[in-house]
Every structure is written in C-alpha cells, then in structure tokens.
Symmetry: C2
Subunit: 498 residues, 2 copies
Amino acid sequence: MSSAYSTLVEKFRQLSRLDHAMTFLQWDQLVMMPPGGNQSRAEAIAELASMRHEMLISPEIGELLQQAENQVVEAPEKRSLVEMKREWQQAVCLPASLVKAQSLAGSTCEHGWRSQRKDNDWSGFLNNFKEVAQLAREEAKLRQEVEPEKFATPYDALLDLYCTGDSSAFIQEVFTGLKAELPALLGEVLERQHASADLTGSYPIEAQKHLNEKLMSCLGFDFSAGRLDVSMHPFSTGDRGDQRITTRFRDTDFADALTSTAHETGHASYEAGLPLEWDDLPVGQARNMCIHESQSLLFEKQIFLSRPFLRFFTPAIHNLLPESKRFDADQVWRACIKVQPSFIRVEADELTYPLHVILRFEIERELINGTIEPKDIPELWNMKMQKYLGLSTEGNYRDGCLQDIHWTDGSFGYFPSYTLGAINGAQLFATIRKERPDWQDLVVKGDVGFIRDWLREKIWSKGSTMDSQQIMAAATGEGTHPRHFLAHIRARYLENSY
Amino acid sequence: MSSAYSTLVEKFRQLSRLDHAMTFLQWDQLVMMPPGGNQSRAEAIAELASMRHEMLISPEIGELLQQAENQVVEAPEKRSLVEMKREWQQAVCLPASLVKAQSLAGSTCEHGWRSQRKDNDWSGFLNNFKEVAQLAREEAKLRQEVEPEKFATPYDALLDLYCTGDSSAFIQEVFTGLKAELPALLGEVLERQHASADLTGSYPIEAQKHLNEKLMSCLGFDFSAGRLDVSMHPFSTGDRGDQRITTRFRDTDFADALTSTAHETGHASYEAGLPLEWDDLPVGQARNMCIHESQSLLFEKQIFLSRPFLRFFTPAIHNLLPESKRFDADQVWRACIKVQPSFIRVEADELTYPLHVILRFEIERELINGTIEPKDIPELWNMKMQKYLGLSTEGNYRDGCLQDIHWTDGSFGYFPSYTLGAINGAQLFATIRKERPDWQDLVVKGDVGFIRDWLREKIWSKGSTMDSQQIMAAATGEGTHPRHFLAHIRARYLENSY
C-alpha cells in the first residue's frame, strides 16, 4: 500500500466511526429517546455532522487523494480510492452557503408541508417550494460541473447520489419498457382477480412482536447481531455486527407489520453481508439505493409474499394469533397481494407502485433540468395519474403532489430507486428460480438459506467494488431489464403460480 | 464576556456534545446493543474519546485559558473559568505514554481478575496488580505536581478526581468520627434488632417493571425527560432533558430492584436539576461524587426506606404483586433495613457499609502514598475486617480484597465518596427534618415535593458554582460532619422512629 493511501484509510476509518455514532444516536432518537432529549440530541448530531464534514473536506484529504492516485496501481486499492474520491467530491463541490440555504429552505418547506398537506394548500406549499427547487437546481449544476462527461443533465448529478451509476437516460429506457405494458396488465389483473378475505381482527401487539421476531429468524436474521424495535415509521440502520430494524404494530392487522419486517430484514441482511475486508471504507459500503431496495423487495415480495413461504409461515401466524385461524395460507396470501389502484404511493401494491414512481421520475427530471416550473406540477400530476392509473387528482393536492415528504427538503433523484429496486429484485430472484427449479419445495419447508447464500455471494459481499450494472450483469447475465419484473407480475397475478 | 472566554465557551460546548454522544453510545452498549456490536462500538467510543482528548489538550485551549484569566473579573464567569481550567489541567498533566500504559495494564488486570476472583487466586492477581499500582503512583505524583500547595499527598491528587475539594486529611477526620462509634453501635443494634420477615416469593418481572416506574413517578421522576430500563448492573446516565436509569429484576424478590431504582432516581434528579444557565459547561456539572452519592442515598435511605414512605408505598406493592400482601408496610420496612455484618461491600446494610469503605480508604491511601506495597493488602484487609466487623478474611481473598472491580483498573480515590455521600445525605435530610417537623405527615401521604424543592434550591441548581463543603455549609450550616449520620442510625435502628 502507498503511504498516501494508507493515511487515507486511517482518515476514512475515523469518518466511519463518526458515522457509527450518528447512526446509533439517530436510532435512539427515533426508537428510545423521550421528547425532553430533543434539543441536546439535535445539537450533538449537528456537531458530529459538522466535524465529519470538516474532516472530509480538509485540504489534506484532497492532497492525499491526488498523491495516492499517482501511487496506487493495484486493482482492489484502486477501486477503493475511486469510492473515496467519489465521497470526497460529493462533499467538496458545494459551497457552505448553498448547503446552509438548502437546509434552511428545506426545514421551512417540510415544516409548512405538514399542515399544508392536511389543508390541501398547494399555493401555500408552492410559496416555500419554489426556493427548494431553485436551490436544488443550483446544487445539480454544481454537481454536474465536477464530472460533465459523466452527467448528461443536471438531474443525472442528483440521481447519482442514490442511484449511483445508473443514468437518467438508462432509467428512462427501463421505465419505458414498464410503461408499455403495466397499464394494460393492470386492467387484465383487475378483471381476473379473485375477491380476497378481509384480514381485520384482534391481534395482540405482544404476540405480534414475537411473530415478527420469528419471521426474522426464519428469514435468517441473527439476533446476536441485531434487534427489532418499534418506531413511527419502519426503518433499518446499524453498523458491523449490529443491525437494527424497526416496525410498527396495529392491533387490528398483522399483515402490514410482517410485510414491513420482511422488507427491513432484506435491508439488514445486505448490510450484515457487506465485505468485512473493506469494512469502514467507502468501497465496503452498500452499492446504491437501487441495489439496497432490490434486497428489501426481494425479501418482501419474492420470498415473504410468495405462496410457498406463506404456506410455510401461516401456521406460525395461527399459533401466535388465534383469531387468524379463520384464514388459511392461501387466503392470507391472496389478501396480502391484492391489487388495487389508489392515490397514495406508500399504500400501493407491487403492480401499481412503479407507475407512481415513473410519474415522479418524469416530473422531477424536468423540474431539475428546468423544462418545467414548480407551478406546473399539479397539472402534470393529474394528467399522468389519469393516464397510468385512471385516477384524477384534479384539485386534490393532498392525495396528489403533496403526499410525499421527499421533495420538501430537496431530495430529488431518490424515487427511481424504489422501482429499480423492484426490477432488480425480480431479476435476481428469476435467476435464483432458474438455478434452483426446486425452489418452491425448499421455501415451503422454510428453507431460505440457499437464497441468502446466493445473495451473499453475488450481491452482499461485493459492496461497492463494482458498479451496480456490473453487479447485476455478473449475477444475472444482464443489466437491469424490466422483462423479469413483468414476468413476475404475470406469473403471480395472472397465472397464480407463486 | 471577554472574547477569549467566549471562545472557550464554544470549545467546551463542543466537548460536551462529544460527551453526549459517548454517554448514549455507552448506555446503548449496556442496555440495548446485541453482542455482535461490541467491536464497532468499542472502536467508535475510543475514537470519540481520543478526539475529545485531543481537542481539550490542544495548545489553543491553554492559551485561551491564560488570556481569559487576565480578562475575566466578574464572579460567575471567573468561577466558570476555574472549572474549565480544572478539567483542562486534569487532562494535560499526564503524558500519553502513561495513559496508554495504564489503559493496557488496567485491561489486563481487570480481565484476569474476573477469573482470579472466582479462583481465590491472590498471587495471580498480584502479578498484574503490581503494575497497576505502580502506574497509579506515577499518575498521583504527576497530578500532585500540578498543584503541590493544594495536594498534601499524592493520594490527595487522585482523590480530587472523585471527591473534588475534600482532602484526605479532612476525610480521615470525618471517618475517625465514624469509626469511634460505629462498631459499638453495630453491637447494640444487633442485640436489639427484631427478627424480620423473609420477603422471598414469586413476583412477575412485568409487574415489577410497572411498580418501579410507579415508584419513580412518586419520587418526582419525569418520564417525558427520561427512561427506566434493565441492565446487568443498575446505573444512571444521561444529558439535559434525557435522564436514563436502569435496574435489574429477580422474580423472587421485589425489594432489591425498588431500592436500587430509588437510588438511581436520586442521581437522575440531581442531573435533571443542574443549572440550565451553565448547561454544557464544566461549572454547570454535578459538583463531585460525594454530593452525587448524597442525592442517591438520600432518595434511597432517607426517603424510600423511611417508615412513612413505605407505609405510603406498600399498598402499590400489594396491588401489583399480590403475593406481597402477606407482609404489611412495617414488615416490609424492617426486612429492607435489616442490619447484618457481611464480607461483601455491595451487599452491606447502611450501618456496616461505611466500615467497608473506611477499610478501603485506609489501605488505598497508604498504597498510593507508598507506605505499604500491594503484597501487604490481604493481611491489612483481614486485620481491619476483624477489628471493624468481627469477620476474618484470612485466606479468603474472594470475599476479601478481591471482591471489588475499582482497583483493578486503577480507580483509586473513588471509595470514600460512597460514605461521604451517605453522611452528606443524612446531614441534608436532618436539616430538611428540622425545617419541616411535619415531614412524616407529608411523606406518609406520598408528598415528597417539598424535599425535591429544597434539594433543587440548595444542591441541584448550584452545579459546580461552589466547592462541595461550601454547598454543604450553605445548605446545612456546617461542612460534612459524621454526627448527623450517627444520629440517623440511632434514630432508625435504636429508636425505631422512622
């Protein structure tokens, strides 16, 4: 190792220890902290974030990167250096004044949105949102200027923060493939869908907690290296050896918590399986949100919500929640995968969800690239909702363009990862099914170890040592392609096969 | 404010935000973290501790302190500066090589002790302990050299880390007053003590958890600014607006957890009542461990274990733990305050506890000042145990000089704070009793607000704006004096009055 490189390794390890601190302080804030702790916690996290940022953008790191680039020639370290430089560049390219203005405008807009959404107040929201959008455009331009040959449009530079490596042109191509078939498929599924049972009942929370822990164990979660807790919104976080996932319980429903727990278990499994030899370095981190979401959706949609897995797992539900005995495994399965077009993305089924995402991708792309203005959003939203899902949001901002938190603080470029994740997940699982034609015989017995082993080898252990499309191609024989997702939808919803 | 002083305020606020992070990462480690998280957590905490140390000992702070000392003349800031300088001096006076050697020797000795204690292996322990003691002597000399006019002996310099402001000569005088009466008092109490009930029974943990939370609420704990959890050893920690205490439950006993919860609620109440205007600065912190322990022991011994409070609280015990109904309030009280000489400090009652502490104080003082050697400890221990408690530890190292963890990592000077705390607590409560002769009428109704108000005004809100003996004198009319503790023992154990 060159001495510049090994100094960088030490520096990035320090950064990752600050990340560790922030990670668990934030977990505690959302899961354990009493309200009185808000101010001192916010101050502590802001201080750590600021120390981390100062350390990362110090001139020393820039010089070390330059020296190391001239010294490092071997493949694995070279790759590690690329990922270090990416993180450094993403931090140094924005002036502190812009970051501060964004933070302020974002807080104001998000704060206002919480009541404006309830009040269906688009014009009030627009007042604050204009500045958020303007600052995001500035951010996008500055990020684009760092690597103009890589980012074809300003939006591509924002996209790269979440969908690292996948360009907007590529994503558009993938989404075009989906759009060409999904609306018609939706009509067909709705026509042929059986009526499904209403799972509503009385399901004690304490028993549900045990049931969810049981599900996690069945899915391979290691409780000596992680926890399940309760929070307002489910999430997954952690560090080496300690993955924390959360869920939420309602005492009238069991399916929602289980589905969400399976989803977060996928995220946690990916994190737990990252390459130990690159631990604490950028190259050892999860590749991007499109891969991350592919793991959570694979666990949720491809494993947990599969007919064989629910045949295996329903006896555990019956056992811990006696009132659920009214429903057999296939009734539970059908109720959980019911397709129903609706206004709200987070409540959407797996067939309509991509249409919600494509709509947002198309709008935010134009917004950041400057071909539409914030005021144009509601009309475009309504038009696309009618076209993709047959629903009108005219005048209904609450259930339309005001429903998501993402844009309020300027997180543009995040939405596509949900659907790229769904496609990647379906594509990875299609390969697994092909390699293990007996997969249903295994899963119906609760054996998912072969799936975990495959994912560990092909995805988790790769960290960021390859680009996401290289990872997909090495694992499945090709880059992200919508045909696998569409095949999955047909098999599950038209052929009822799994 | 001088500009040097206000820069110092900013610097110490940064340090306190790192403290916040370490505080809650350590709480998590002991209360929530799965075992798999050990390594990454240890690395993160070590990194934060090292960053904090580097920031504190930077030459800039030394220069700012010097500048500020010449500029600051007003009383409150001057006091604040004194406490900043104390913290800085305690950090800069030790070379990094010594700190590292101590950390290594301490870990080795503590690790070995865990099995050597079980094996009664004094000579194995001695092998490791010699170096710990030698390094502690070096530390003591270096600390003494900083302020030779303040520290009469090397041991005084270590004592100052925990009993800040109380010299070893002063403590010896106080302890001499106790020693003169306690052994005889013990004999008298043992002779006249009634037989007490055996509280052993079956007490479900979940109900005990509710009971302990109820106790905390009765004692004034604010659950919007704190939590109760479970850990292997009870402790209390936290930061502004967020006090975390822990306890442990056994399903055969309820008294132990309640007593410990009352104790930790005292610690937490002190922390929650510290002066907001000095928040995040050294002068706003708890004065020292002798005052801290006075608050926990006042809550435990003077309030919770008082006859009137247990008359008030026993119905809640009956209500949540039906099997406890066999015992009336006075039976619970007598069982909880039973006096019984024993080998083990942590299991000792309030009458014999000081004798365990005095023994340790006398031995560690001589050890650090160099008038005895580590090899002399077992003989001295046995001699003093026979003299103070009538028990022989000859050849029984396990229940003698190997029982405590404190010395294994070089924490000399801590033990006296337990008994100074007990004396201070009794002295403070004697003043409260004098000012409120109707105290039993209030406490028997569960009213402890007048006690909290008094403590807030006299102790909590003072932070470190005064020396501990000034605080005691302002609150009670004199510095720490053993007569109040002895009077409390006589009143409770010979006169059965409360």
